[in-house]
Symmetry: C2
Subunit: 582 residues, 2 copies
């Protein structure tokens, strides 16, 4: 039995573990099965209760938080049934995109779970395990915390899985367990990721193989960085390899901002047949591609149009390596990358001096804009935004025109790009921006948090604008007002009414949802022309404002970035609604 | 092979079945895996696409629609993964509360589901069945529609289950199947509920048993009507029994408005120890209780404080009957009730002449209001609203102070009460009101749709105010501004910050979210006092307005209906956060 001095509530133990992992904000909505735990949260010195408007938005916020904070996790608290199920799409998205989140659901007491009374928030048929079963589909690890004797080891187990696998975990927290006491002794040992053990012999073999291929490829070696390099925390290790080897480097869409986009040997985004022709030629013409953390989803590969032979590829992943056709399970990039860098660095390799096409987004001549010289077109908007971005900005772009547009613009040093390219749940960015902005403030980023979101997407999760102001955040929200779901118009139903939405008075939203005691009142703008937007972006009082801002950009209903039009054409082919034999 | 004349798209077949079941509104959000089907919807003469702001709200709306439309079902359309999962809490709520909804998820083509490419909206690990597995937890029936040869029989099977069990069903609709052709011949036979067969001999035995008990009980027989009488469509059969027998009748909270509340032999709401003392004495003192469609959840029974011996109870359910301790599976009330009425009607039973305590909600003398003579208190608000209600009104009340308050007020003839007492998901009423108001218009109700919702709850689903105006609906929305989650303050954390919310400018909301081409602009009011509210309610231009209206009621943070305070005290006891040994 532990010394009485060492005893601590289970709820407090959980919070201490979260604090150790760098969690300073807990997202969620109160409910009667989590109120007792919330007392501990509210009284905790290092963890702030965010208090979202709804649970889906809260899950999105936890996701954005984890992405920007990095080397930490997102944390979400909901209540039994009604709360946890509302969040499930946000958690599934984090699973899909590999974002570590702990979802804590406050649930009835252990005795209620055994006796199964027909409580509110139950299905009325005695199935107390239905939500747990649903949650398991989207959790890399889960626990019911029904037994005090294993409570702390279970907390430690799921949190370790969370940081090891970079995926959500689910923890049921019964009301009575929260205030049971346990030994605090395990807290003295911080949790750390527990990747598979690598056998030294295999690793040595793998390094030799890669080195041989690199040497044979001559000047035709490129590095391609993708999502998992960010999600599994090897940005620094990858950067070390990139810088020291001097190899040309490109990024997949989901790897954007993993490599500083101003780096002189960075060629921009490779996305199969949607790539800039220079990039496509360089990547697909390489004899060897060192791929770091690839994730080959449709939108991340130009609808599966990679033209890279497997025989020319070395894939480095979090838990395995693939060299040409050979798979090496257990050889993960966290340990391999530094060793590979040590091998390749001294080589003075010919690939380190081949030219790399510069990644630029040149502002087009407005007079030549097909939509009109002063119309805010996608062609002009994104390069112009590229000039507006600053180091350490966090740029969040919504699935749809925004994410296709922002991809094509290089970001400044230490800027972070946040987008949901695989999961692609519309409305995600608004919640995510709340979390991203909080994390940016916590880690002391000097830039702004800037959101690009369409009018259609914004409606899904709009209430979280309020929470941003409540927390004293000041993101800049650009609302692309293009009268509905423009990405869908290009996929199907160009003039169908189901792609229309109500045109809200967007510039009144912040005022309606601002707290009464807000220190700096929010500001909103509508801009109709290039010149208006240009002037606004140049104003110092706008670019570095003290309060939150929303800018409504009036855009054409059918205008879209070129990459989106191409992607839509490709998806339409695979996803078409067969009417040939009608 | 069917005649070519008889061929029809699978998507059209599904829509025809929905139309046959009385579905005239389809709720949901477009997404790239349902756009093809949406073409058919948009072109359908009898089914209107609602186009919600998000999927959870859409599910709530489908639920409210089914409740008010009755003898029909709600219908929801979402897209693969991101859309369907966002709706899952709404569907689980419909499962719990027994509301028939078909949830149609537009999913990738049958060949994509076999080959499992890493499409957007997937989990990235090839598991195409994860959403289906989650959905199964909350569906009484489900189908993947992967095989053309069984497509129409599968559609018919799940829809039949939906109307038989009054619970949600889940249907995956692959993009390619939508436009495959099938025979339309089955459409000639309308679907109907398929309850279990009752053996005539057993039914006769059951009727004899009940008749014997009724005769033995003398004047001490009461009828208690509950949720399942409404959900399983026996309101008319139950009313026939009530009227013809003349027995005193009471309703559980979830049975409210099943019996016309102005009926002279209706005594009001029985809710265990929270009941009015007269009601409690009458019900618990009865020698025999004929219970129709009972559902014994915590909030529906005064936290399990029924004091009714099983030996005095006959429970009539949709698929079984229980007489005292004996269970009769398969003897359902749809067929049994008319026969029971025929048996009991001619009896001239002494229970038909005992006095029943009148169900009234008398307006208190303002001068005696403990909160102040002109403060809008719960004590005064609900009886005052009782005077405002009219026949055929639909009254929707949110979980929390509103639902506890509205329960205590008798509703006029043919008014419908809509509340979610078992599931209790906050924010549900706003979406539900949209569906309820649409259904009320479709069935030609002459009353208004009136929503009571707290400020905390409204924030969860606020965007659907927009859809109400888009569809030309004109519900009256009363927003109880009591500075946060008042029900939770009474459960736990009375002065904790986690129960606070941002105080929005509520009266600006409608203006911000109204369509530009709205025919009658919405109106909003803030009322601070009893006299202001009284005056407003008396204005004809308010009571029967041509446009949508929102009324912000300024109320005390801690004020609550008496029943809520009692319930909170009871839940607190079972659900308390053990701090005794701290």
């Amino acid at each position: 039995m532990a010394d009485k001095q060492d005893l601590i509530f289970v709820g407090s133990y959980l919070l201490e573990r979260l604090a150790q992992l760098g969690v300073n904000s807990l997202f969620g909505v109160p409910g009667d099965f989590n109120l007792g735990f919330l007392d501990l949260v509210e009284d905790h010195p290092d963890i702030d209760w965010v208090g979202n408007c709804n649970e889906l938005n809260a899950a999105y916020a936890a996701d954005g938080y984890a992405r920007v904070k990095q080397k930490s996790i997102g944390a979400l608290l909901t209540t039994f049934g009604v709360g946890e199920l509302s969040a499930i799409n946000g958690i599934a998205g984090a699973f899909s995109e590999m974002v570590p989140i702990i979802h804590i659901a406050g649930v009835p007491s252990t005795s209620q779970q055994k006796n199964k009374p027909m409580l509110h928030h139950t299905l009325g048929d005695g199935r107390y395990d239905a939500y747990y079963k649903a949650a398991q589909q989207f959790a890399s690890s889960h626990t019911g915390l029904m037994d005090l004797s294993t409570a702390t080891s279970e907390i430690d187990r799921v949190l370790t899985d969370c940081i090891t696998n970079a995926r959500p975990v689910y923890l049921m927290l019964p009301t009575d367990i929260v205030y049971q006491k346990v030994s605090s002794a395990p807290l003295k040992t911080p949790l750390k990721p527990s990747p598979p053990e690598t056998e030294a012999e295999v690793e040595e073999f793998v390094l030799n193989e890669i080195q041989k291929l690199v040497e044979e490829a001559g000047e035709d070696v490129v590095i391609l960085v993708d999502a998992c390099a960010i999600r599994h925390g090897v940005k620094e290790e990858a950067w070390d390899l990139i810088e020291k080897s001097g190899f040309p480097v490109y990024a997949a869409p989901m790897g954007k901002s993993a490599v500083p986009e101003g780096y002189e040997r960075y060629g921009g985004i490779y996305v199969g047949s949607l790539s800039h022709p220079d990039v496509k030629a360089k990547v697909e013409g390489a004899k060897l591609i060192l791929s770091v953390g690839s994730l080959k989803s449709d939108f991340n590969t130009g609808n599966f149009t990679y033209r890279i032979p497997q025989a020319s590829t070395v894939e480095l992943h979090s838990d395995h390596t693939r060299i040409q056709y050979a798979l090496y399970p257990g050889v993960g990039f966290k340990k391999l990358l530094p060793k590979l860098t040590a091998r390749l660095h001294p080589l003075d390799h010919p690939a380190s001096s081949v030219t790399v096409p510069p990644f630029r987004a040149l502002l087009p001549n407005p007079a030549e804009d097909p939509l009109g010289a002063d119309v805010i077109s996608h062609l002009w908007l994104w390069p112009r935004m590229g000039e507006f971005f600053e180091p350490e900005d966090v740029v969040v772009s919504e699935t749809g025109t925004s994410s296709f547009g922002a991809l094509a613009v290089p970001l400044p040093k230490d800027a972070i790009y946040v987008s949901q390219i695989l999961w692609g749940s519309i409305g995600w960015t608004l919640g995510s921006t709340l979390g991203a902005a909080l994390a940016a403030r916590e880690i002391g980023l000097k830039g702004r948090t800037i959101l690009f979101v369409g009018d259609g997407s914004l409606q899904l999760t709009v209430q979280e604008l309020s929470t941003m102001m409540r927390k004293g955040l000041k993101p800049i929200v650009f609302v692309l007002n293009n009268s509905g779901y423009t990405i869908e118009r290009h996929l199907h139903g160009r003039v169908r009414h189901y792609n229309d939405i109500v045109n809200w008075k967007w510039t009144k939203l912040l005022e309606v949802m601002a707290p009464e005691d807000i220190k700096v009142p929010p500001k909103s703008y509508t801009v109709h022309t290039k010149s208006e937007l240009d002037a606004l972006l140049k104003e110092e009082s706008f670019a570095h404002a003290e309060g939150m801002q929303l800018v409504e950009l009036m855009m054409d209903k059918f205008d879209a970035p070129v990459a989106l039009l191409k992607q839509a054409e490709l998806s339409g082919k695979t996803n078409k609604y067969v009417a040939d034999f009608v």
